[in-house]
Symmetry: C2
Subunit: 396 residues, 2 copies
């Protein structure tokens, strides 16, 4: 009766829901503080105080019709201008108001970008392991997701595998660095290799191939340089979100940066503005647009994430688990000791530890451990990890 696409999604969703319900059941049985939930990328840290002050200042110094009114579908010009300047200052670029579209988070921005670019049957490449929603977003526009595995054990992208996967129908490659679920930051060398492959393929096929760079974790890096991708490749659209950097995931606020150098820039920018409207976003939420513009130099507590990272990485490697040391984001990507990520995740649950099998990210054999949790959650989970290591016969 209803949309067949949606019926399929509803069926898959019941698996995820079962996991949540299991978590709630454990919390009820043992108490919420005895359940160690590493399954969600929901920041546990509060938004910086600057966000609250900015919102109150805006309510006091700006007319309500301006705060809450319609503006251009691309967002408030003044907001887009300060964002462009902030990017330019950080990355030495030359963006202006006309390169920025405010979006309903990174998820909204990715949908706008894909709606703008895709014709039915167009191929979009994702580098595995990847955020599982990419497949749904591409499917919204009847595109076809093509999965290219990254190189273990570093999980840097493989330019060779990418070259083999690009076809005449490739419209875009989604990259995500710092990466969910691996915590890896792509090096300048990796990005240069990707760019070279795509430049060559554009020439070979006479097509435009876009990199869509999904960057919600840009500011969450622990010393590693996170290269700015538009310097490496011309046909790039950057999607950003303040969900993680300002701990505002519920507010749905981000931007697309579309460089003037992309093929048919004016058409792409216009189409993306219109896509924002016709998909029903209309514009990014107005008060929060104004608020983030006043908080561009604020940041969430990266040091706290870094402390969690050290605690978890050191604790688990000492027990004998094999982990990719994360350079960014707030995920630890760990090998399932016997290669069976689903069985390992199920075993962890016996110790009230909730983690996600890598299979959910097209990365079988590994698990994702989200450490955007209270420090105590990590500390208190350690007894469980010790038992789990023993169960799998690991020697620390």
């Amino acid at each position: 009766m209803i949309s067949e696409k949606m019926i399929k999604l509803a069926q898959n969703n019941s698996v995820i829901r079962a996991m949540f319900e299991e978590g709630n059941r454990l919390a009820e049985q043992f108490g919420r503080d005895k359940v160690y939930d590493f399954s969600l990328g929901n920041p546990n840290f509060a938004a910086p105080a600057a966000v609250k002050s900015a919102i109150i200042d805006i309510l006091n110094d700006t007319e309500p019709t301006e705060i809450h009114g319609y503006m251009s579908n691309a967002g408030f010009p003044a907001v887009r201008e300060v964002i462009a300047k902030s990017i330019n200052k950080k990355h030495g670029t030359a963006f202006s108001t006309g390169n920025i579209i405010m979006t309903v988070g990174a998820a909204g921005g990715l949908n706008v970008a894909l709606k703008t670019l895709l014709n039915p049957g167009d191929e979009v490449i994702a580098l595995a392991p990847y955020f599982v929603e990419y497949g749904n977003y591409v499917n919204n526009y009847d595109g076809k997701l093509v999965v290219v595995p990254a190189n273990p054990p570093t999980f840097q992208p493989s330019a060779e595998a990418l070259a083999e996967a690009v076809t005449q129908r490739t419209k875009a490659v989604i990259i995500n660095t710092p990466n969910n679920p691996t915590g890896v930051v792509y090096t300048a060398e990796s990005l240069r290799a990707i760019a070279e492959v795509l430049e060559a393929k554009q020439k070979e096929f006479g097509t435009s191939i876009f990199i869509i760079s999904d960057e919600p974790y840009r500011e969450l890096a622990y010393g590693a340089d996170v290269p700015w991708i538009t310097k490496f490749y011309r046909n790039t659209i950057v999607g950003y979100s303040w969900s993680k950097s300002l701990s505002l995931p519920g507010e749905r606020i981000g931007y697309l940066a579309i460089p003037s150098e992309v093929d048919e820039f004016e058409l792409v920018f216009d189409a993306a503005s219109i896509a924002t409207r016709v998909l029903g976003f209309v514009n990014a939420p107005s008060l929060i647009q104004l608020a983030v513009a006043r908080c561009l130099d604020a940041s969430t507590d990266v040091a706290a994430y870094d402390a969690n990272r050290a605690l978890l990485y050191d604790g688990l490697t000492k027990l004998g688990f094999e982990c990719v040391k994360p350079d960014g984001a707030f995920y630890l990507w760990m090998k399932a000791p016997d290669g069976d990520d689903k069985a390992f995740s199920a075993a962890a649950k016996k110790y009230n530890i909730l983690i996600v099998p890598g299979t959910s990210f097209a990365g079988p054999g590994y698990v994702r451990i989200a450490y955007c949790v209270a420090k105590e959650t990590i500390e208190n989970s350690m007894m469980g990890w010790v038992s789990l290591a023993a169960e799998y016969g690991l020697k620390g």
Copy 2:
């Protein structure tokens, strides 16, 4: 190169943009206060003070991680609960938390509903004149918009014309009351007639046909009763927005109410929650969700709109123009004196009056005059209307 659907939209959009640019050109030439812009449905009235207090209270009495964090894709359960109760109190219904999905405005809600319901080629009926974006929303999901004209001069919907238009492929009928662009409120009699047609057609074809009721203007009625549609027809999804009732159009906040009685309720509700996620909305903006929940009894200044309505309707009918007397919304639907709405709108521009040809709403022969403007704009425009009436040889 990019999406062919989007290329077409970008081409159409340049016409609308030309209109805006013409308005800006006039404002620069004559001064903003000498241009009488009746073209936009952007409320000129400020959000009620309760909104500002609610936001500040929330920032002071709630944890930032709760205010700005992720929640269920359907929205905060506590918010959905008070909304359900508020609907029940007003309309004698029996909604609960599980019937409400918070949306990114009404436009977001309509997209979620259509994504949930449509398979490619499914037909969606709009009752002309209608808000032009409906066609774009239906096209997002490869549906086919079928237009059924309403009955002039009352512009109540025509059950007979509807009956002729329904086919085996009809998946939904979009209704919008109070109506944009006519200002008409559908009577209980009209809704009953629509419901009877659709019940009969569901039986005839063995299908489910949904009414999607787009209700951003529900509270903007000037004494007329706005009947609650779910009492007339079982397979109904109501889409609401606070854009107009609380003057928050930029904030993108609304809800879908899905009654438990619709066919395959659980599947429809689940699919709509998931559609919220996969379309990239993820959830309605969190702080504003909490704010509207505290402002359910607040309202914008309906009396001020009513004063504008009287001023404009009386002024223009005295000059000899033929207008549909609006019972709701903030639009006056007026006959182009010689039937050529485009030429009439162009003629109005000579007097710095900006109005929209009815052709843009599939309502040729009429123009839409949005009176959500300052009272002075109406007063100061009157000299222009007098000249325009004279130019068209009208006798008041």
